[in-house]
């Protein structure tokens, strides 16, 4: 049996699955239920200064759904904890005492004022928290007051607040980043410069879920008006993976521990975050859609995967895919693939044909000898993978790499087995003579 336990910047937990700072970790009753279900840790919903914030009492959540009402994307306009600071602290102390083996990270958000941080940090340390997470990501409401994403969008603020936290607290400090920026490497570098032990990402993405077309009102709305919320759930996973990978491979932040967040729904999602360097994984939407029990499925799937692959611990495969993420200019332009359709499993829906014909390279037949038949025309195929991506039957269309020396029927040229990227390409006016693997 694989060992799922982690030691993430001195914060230990029996498995890598933490509940992210959000409604599921707002109260003792929720967190105890989570620990009973098997969650490895929680990031307690963000604490702020008293008096507590006030939430709307109309809809706070909305979803993007498939036809059979599976949640694809989720949006919320909840603020940070709306309960008194002391109530939260007392509950955190009690829960940690009863659940000493679980990670108890406390999320914090106070104004960008040194005094505010100096005041709250000792209180959190005093209740026995294992670490703190600085909420520089919340994109709605709090950002209008100069906190949350408003801090996360200014690298200098990130660095300054992180420095205060490292100065006034001994606790491991995780900086939670907002994706509502143009280049996530800058805030990550600022966090590192400020002494952060780790970063966590992504927080939610600015979003309007939709418009009620009968009433001509955006949704969700409260008393006729709405405000943008934070978008999360499965739909954001690719965005999160990219940002995680950018930080993992950036020369300045390489090696900075990362807690991965963003649409983790299955063990496979979690394993992907880990493969791109994350040492812990945070989950919220999946729990809000299915309840806490899903952690058991996450652990079961991850454990079986690790056993099958021979990974004894999380560290055994953490970051293993990072070095496959490159700048585009490093990709091998001499490598040539062609799609292949398995005629035995093809169900003849013809979608590959029509999308290739309409939107790509006219490289798939519709008929052969007058009969319905879908086959790759290698003389047209550029290996774009569109047909593979939209085929409804798994493993029916696959990509075949041409061997060195094999003639590419599209160009009539033999495949050059040597690596050659854009920086060396004759069409590149800026080309250099030697290969650059960027």
């Amino acid at each position: 049996m694989a060992d799922l336990s982690i030691d993430f910047v001195r914060i230990k937990s029996p498995n890598p699955f933490w509940l992210a700072s959000a409604p599921p970790t707002d109260k003792e009753v929720n967190v105890v239920r989570a620990f009973e279900a098997g969650w490895g840790g929680v990031v307690w919903k963000t604490l702020g200064e008293d008096p507590p914030v006030v939430n709307v009492n109309g809809p706070r959540y909305a979803t993007l759904m498939s036809q059979d009402r599976r949640v694809i994307g989720f949006n919320n306009i909840e603020l940070i904890s709306d309960r008194p600071l002391r109530t939260n602290l007392e509950e955190i102390r009690r829960v940690k005492r009863h659940w000493p083996d679980r990670a108890m990270v406390v999320s914090l958000m106070v104004p960008v004022v040194e005094e505010s941080w100096k005041r709250i940090l000792p209180m959190v340390e005093d209740v026995g928290a294992d670490g703190i997470e600085l909420n520089f990501g919340c994109p709605h409401g709090m950002s209008e007051r100069g906190m949350g994403a408003a801090v996360g969008q200014v690298p200098e603020y990130i660095q300054r607040v992180t420095e205060w936290c490292k100065h006034y607290s001994k606790l491991p400090t995780i900086v939670k980043l907002t994706p509502n920026i143009t280049d996530v490497r800058y805030p990550a570098r600022a966090a590192k410069a400020g002494g952060a032990d780790a970063v966590s990402l992504i927080n939610t993405i600015n979003s309007v879920m939709g418009v009620d077309l009968e009433r001509m009102v955006m949704s969700p709305s409260t008393d006729g008006w709405g405000s943008h919320g934070g978008y999360c759930g499965q739909a954001v996973k690719p965005i999160a993976l990219n940002m995680v990978a950018e930080i993992a491979r950036d020369a300045q932040t390489q090696g900075l521990p990362i807690s991965g967040i963003g649409g983790v729904t299955t063990w496979r999602d979690a394993a992907e975050f880990i493969a791109l360097g994350c040492g812990s994984v945070q989950v919220c939407t999946a729990a809000m859609v299915y309840g806490f029990k899903i952690v058991q499925d996450l652990c079961s799937g991850l454990s079986n995967f690790m056993d099958e692959q021979g990974h004894a611990s999380i560290e055994d495969f953490r970051g293993r895919a990072v070095e496959t993420v490159k700048d585009w200019k490093a990709l091998n332009l001499n490598h040539i693939e062609k799609a292949v359709i398995n005629q035995d499993s093809c169900i003849q829906c013809g979608r590959c044909h029509v999308v290739c014909e309409d939107t790509s390279h006219q490289a798939i037949t519709a008929t052969k000898d007058g009969k319905r038949h879908f086959e790759i025309k290698e003389e047209e195929c550029v290996g774009c993978n569109l047909c593979v991506s939209i085929c409804p039957v798994p493993n029916t269309i696959s990509m075949r790499a041409l061997a060195a020396g094999e003639v590419d029927k599209r160009t009539g040229m033999a495949v050059n087995g040597e690596y050659a990227n854009w920086t060396m390409n004759p069409n590149n006016p800026m080309r250099t003579s030697a290969a650059t693997c960027g």
Partner: protein, 464 residues
């Protein structure tokens, strides 16, 4: 009214308690609700040059109407269906989809579970008929041309609708008191609950330009020549008026009757008043046999047996229909042929059957016989075209009217379609296609320009 139980011998009405009739003759298959329809619609892969559309005799663009259901655009879905098949509501209920569109669904390959195209088609058309709004179809400028349609069955109605759309003025003659043909008289009641056939016809006629004349029978109340004198063109959708005999001695007995008459009586009556035997034998292997047998059970017959002279694969009722009969409590007795109707003092009491087998590919009797007790025997071994009303001049083939693909008969200005036309499978949906195509061709002929005709034909095919 006396209420004999299902165990009472003889032929009686009211074998069941009243409540049973409502549930027995209500909708046999519940329609999809919105949640079910959206989930089922999502299963459609939106195939290119979709095999289901190719398999549909009327060529409905099935992926398009399903996509529109998925997008909650039922009006758009209904337009796609009704444009190709103005009787798409009825076809959604009665088409043997398992041998047409659903058999062609690519989902069969991996899952053996096609998209429920028929149920989705019903969902879209029901939604539209429940809330029709602005008419989907309007008439082109009136041409002044007049067309007679003989027979208000699926072929005639589809033809009339197509002609009315193109601006022609149509008179539809039908021998029966109500329009609809087999839709009104020939289908099991539970397939067309809530008077659907007439509701659909009301909608179809609402386009305008179609006059309906009931109780007008060709050969009795008018002749083809007379119609040709009064109209610019004539479409014959005469159906099959004759019923095949069993080929054995058939004494005149109250219990021995045609399944089509029994089905028609049931459609036109309160089921509680329709007499049924305790033991019923239906001879035949088609959908008429299944409809008659299942409805016999639903009327309270205790034992109902379909007797068919060959095996299950040879039955023209699909496997789905056969299973439906069996789960409704009907026994299907294969490899048996009628030999002798047995009566005692003027009352039917059974039928002697010969066991059959294949001998070198030829159906032969084995010499063994057996008797099934019965107080009712229903003939359902096929119907025949009765040619006399149309006159001797029209060319026949295989006993039915010989036409080209557009329905043109051997007589100038006369088209024909539906079951009376040679070469089909006697399906409602084929009859609709016949009527639809003939309307296009009649329109071309009436406009009289082959150049216009060519363009028009291409347009219609693109839409079809």
């Amino acid at each position: 009214m006396d209420s004999p139980s299902s165990r009472a011998c003889g032929i009686h009405a009211a074998r069941l308690n009243l409540a049973a009739y409502a549930s027995n003759f209500g909708d046999a298959h519940a329609p999809l609700n919105r949640a079910q329809a959206l989930i089922e619609a999502e299963r459609c892969y939106y195939c290119y040059d979709a095999p289901c559309t190719i398999a549909c005799p009327t060529g409905i663009d099935i992926p398009t109407f399903i996509q529109r259901i998925a997008q909650d655009n039922n009006r758009g879905a209904a337009l796609t269906i009704l444009e190709s098949n103005p009787l798409g509501g009825m076809c959604a209920r009665v088409c043997p989809t398992e041998v047409l569109c659903e058999q062609a669904c690519v989902r069969n390959t991996n899952e053996e579970k096609p998209v429920e195209i028929g149920a989705l088609q019903r969902y879209a058309t029901d939604a539209y008929f429940a809330k029709p709004g602005v008419p989907l179809f309007t008439r082109e400028a009136v041409t002044g041309k007049r067309v007679a349609v003989v027979g208000a069955g699926p072929a005639g109605l589809a033809c009339a609708h197509g002609l009315a759309r193109r601006g022609h003025t149509v008179t539809v003659f039908d021998a029966n008191p109500k329009p609809g043909g087999l839709n009104e008289y020939g289908l099991a009641t539970y397939k067309t609950a809530d008077n659907f056939a007439q509701r659909e016809i009301d909608w179809l006629l609402s386009i305008g330009g179609i006059e309906l004349q009931n109780n007008q029978k060709l050969g009795r109340d008018m002749t083809l020549d007379a119609l040709l004198g009064q109209f610019d063109a004539v479409f014959l959708g005469l159906g099959l008026a004759g019923v095949n005999a069993l080929g054995i001695s058939e004494p005149q007995l109250p219990g021995l009757r045609n399944a089509v008459d029994f089905i028609a009586e049931l459609r036109q009556s309160d089921p509680v008043r329709v007499p049924i035997g305790r033991r019923v034998v239906v001879i035949g292997g088609g959908m008429t046999a299944v409809d008659a047998a299942v409805q016999s059970r639903l009327l309270g017959a205790e034992q109902v047996t379909i007797v068919y002279r060959r095996g299950p694969d040879a039955m023209s009722a699909s496997m789905v229909e056969q299973r439906w009969a069996q789960t409704s409590g009907v026994t299907i007795r294969h490899w048996a042929a009628p030999k002798e109707v047995i009566a005692e003092s003027g009352r039917l009491c059974g039928i002697r059957l010969a066991e059959t087998t294949l001998d070198g590919g030829k159906l032969v009797e084995t010499g063994e016989t057996f008797v099934l007790e019965a107080d009712m025997v229903l003939r359902a071994i096929g119907q025949t075209f009765i040619a006399e009303p149309a006159g001797a001049a029209i060319a026949l083939k295989g006993g039915r009217i010989h036409t080209d693909d557009d329905g043109r008969t051997s007589l100038p200005r006369v088209w024909a379609g539906g079951d009376c036309r040679f070469g089909g499978r006697d399906l409602t949906v084929e009859a609709v296609e016949h009527g639809k195509r003939s309307a296009i061709d009649i329109d071309l002929a009436l406009r009289g320009s082959s150049a216009v005709a060519g363009t028009q034909r291409k347009l219609e095919k693109a839409h079809g």
